[in-house]
């Protein structure tokens, strides 16, 4: 699998004499896959995302994005390939209506008007917001704003989509819907998705997971493997998926659960075999 992001000893300090927010991180992110970066608040995961988007310049170390080294010469070209959805959608609203807001990026790229209108409508339709095209962003709910922010970024058809806690205000059904949309776009557009989160529920659609803790890379592996280590997640201040927490709760009550019981289905099968 080709890498779309490669970092080498990537280090970032917010102040010259301060602690490194990101400390010698070397990793690769495969193209066309969904990679979730998880870590508790202040772990350095958003710093990593901002370095990938060129919003921050590395203190030391280097990174390559979409085949280009991140430097003054390439930063603009790299940004054109990336769509970044921030946690707080209020930070990226520009337009006076939902439609104008989604059009903003396209206007900047000098897309012709007719084509622009078509793309705006399509993008809002994708996120289920086409009926709100003439509404004012201020009259939307938090979750609706997050959908519009996503539409604005998808309209640009980025190769790499970075989601920084971008679905935190969606209701459970809305999150499932957005997950399905993203999986579909990932396949159809060969889009790479990098999602930043601390909530394991938001990693369920990911192919692989990177764990960042105190600025260090702790783990990188397939999603199901990383999520099955409930104790490891807990030690890093992250909540394990329900099955992992149930296993720990049973062990605390003196019940030994076999090691092979790693996911929900196996847990149900094991309990049914024991109790029915």
């Amino acid at each position: 699998m080709a890498a779309i992001v490669t970092t080498k000893d990537l280090t970032y300090r917010y102040t010259t004499d301060g602690k490194a927010a990101l400390d010698k991180v070397s990793l690769t992110i495969p193209a066309g896959q969904w990679t979730a970066i998880i870590g508790h608040n202040g772990s350095g995961k958003s710093t990593l995302a901002r370095l990938i988007d060129g919003l921050l310049a590395p203190t030391t170390g280097s990174l390559t994005v979409a085949g280009m080294p991140m430097d003054d010469e390439h930063v603009v070209a790299i940004r054109h390939r990336i769509g970044y959805v921030f946690q707080n959608p209020d930070n990226q609203f520009i337009g006076t209506t939902v439609g104008e807001d989604v059009a903003f990026g396209l206007e900047n790229h000098q897309v012709p008007r007719e084509k622009m209108q078509e793309i705006v409508e399509q993008s809002l339709d994708l996120v289920g917001m086409s009926q709100m095209i003439d509404e004012q962003p201020a009259s939307l709910s938090g979750g609706q704003k997050q959908r519009v922010a996503l539409a604005g970024v998808l309209a640009m058809e980025p190769d790499i989509l970075i989601l920084d806690e971008a679905t935190s205000m969606l209701d459970p059904a809305g999150r499932e819907q957005i997950d399905r949309l993203l999986l579909k776009l990932q396949r159809e557009r060969q889009m790479t998705i990098i999602s930043i989160t601390h909530d394991v529920v938001e990693t369920l659609a990911a192919d692989s997971i990177i764990i960042i803790n105190d600025g260090h890379l702790v783990k990188q592996g397939p999603a199901d493997e990383v999520l099955s280590d409930a104790v490891g997640l807990l030690q890093l201040g992250l909540a394990a998926p329900f099955v992992g927490r149930l296993r720990l709760a049973l062990e605390k009550r003196g019940i030994k659960v076999p090691a092979k019981v790693t996911d929900g289905q196996r847990m149900v099968e094991w309990l049914c075999a024991q109790l029915s």
Binding site: D90, A173, F242, L275
Partner: protein
């Protein structure tokens, strides 16, 4: 009859009423929140949850009907001053409240509300210190800049700013959004403690686990209308109601159902929380060991 802290009587609300941009958000909504209850407010995004909270806090004026909070009632003809009276006993923790931090030190930020309400500097400082203690931020934080703190700590400073006003009704709109599990747990345990000390809680949330674990009442809002009010147990027992309102079971409820469907006999009603389910399973598994 139980005392009601909040009463909405046949409330309509329309944004930009009387303009071409008019958009009706609430329809004939009647609702009572009992004094001392912990009520979760759930529903799809854009259903009107935050609009209701803003009406209760006197930030919006009903287009039709009346809103009463702790004995103060407002109607479509009420003045701004009357609206503000609703707020006297209410504290509102907005979505992402740390956006509103502004002062140079934590203590000044938390003192701002009480000072603004006309308290003396010494009274405001005392209330601020107490509020910081309540949210678990010790003396060492008082002189720090709020902007040097972690996300979870900043949110607790913002909540302390609300608690320093000594509200008897506390509204929280998605207070754990964007916080990691540890930060979220600290906030939820804090709210639980305030509830046990007698504060009435209104929690807007999308997390069904929070509803199942902490709330004693749950209100479902959909398309600006009241779809349900009752206990979490009753809500999670009603599959049709959940489906109609884009709600999901908490993980414990799903798991409990999967086990029952698989032939496991679990005593009593469906388990709402992880601990409840683990207790039942542990009892059953140990009982089995003794039988053998």
């Amino acid at each position: 009859m139980a005392l009601c802290t909040v009463k909405l009587n046949q409330v309509d609300f329309t944004y930009q009423f009387g303009t071409p941009f008019a958009h009706q958000a609430l329809f004939d909504l009647s609702l009572k929140i009992e004094h001392g209850s912990y009520t979760a407010v759930v529903g799809p995004t854009g259903s009107g949850k935050s609009t209701i909270m803003q009406l209760i806090d006197g930030l919006l004026r009903p287009t039709k009907g009346t809103v009463s909070v702790n004995g103060v009632t407002v109607s479509p003809s009420s003045s701004l001053r009357q609206l503000a009276a609703l707020r006297a006993t209410t504290g509102f923790v907005f979505q992402l409240p740390e956006k509103q931090l502004f002062a140079e030190t934590v203590i000044e930020d938390v003192m701002f509300g009480p000072l603004n309400n006309g308290q003396s500097a010494s009274a405001a400082r005392e209330n601020a210190c107490q509020a910081l203690q309540q949210v678990g931020l010790g003396k060492e934080f008082e002189q720090q800049s709020p902007f040097d703190l972690s996300g979870g700590q900043m949110r607790r400073v913002a909540i302390a700013g609300v608690l320093a006003m000594k509200p008897t009704l506390l509204i929280l709109d998605e207070p754990t959004a964007g916080l990691d599990s540890q930060g979220a747990r600290q906030i939820l345990e804090l709210v639980d403690r305030l509830h046990q000390q007698g504060t009435t809680i209104l929690l807007v949330t999308h997390h069904m686990e929070q509803v199942a674990t902490y709330a004693d009442q749950v209100v479902v809002i959909n398309h600006g209308r009241l779809a349900f009010q009752g206990t979490p147990r009753k809500l999670f027992a009603d599959r049709k109601l959940l489906a109609e309102n884009s709600l999901r079971w908490p993980a414990a409820v799903s798991f409990d159902h999967a086990l029952r469907d698989g032939g496991v006999h679990l005593p009593g009603p469906v388990s709402l929380s992880l601990d409840e389910l683990a207790d039942k399973l542990a009892t059953q598994l140990k009982g089995r060991d003794q039988d053998e």
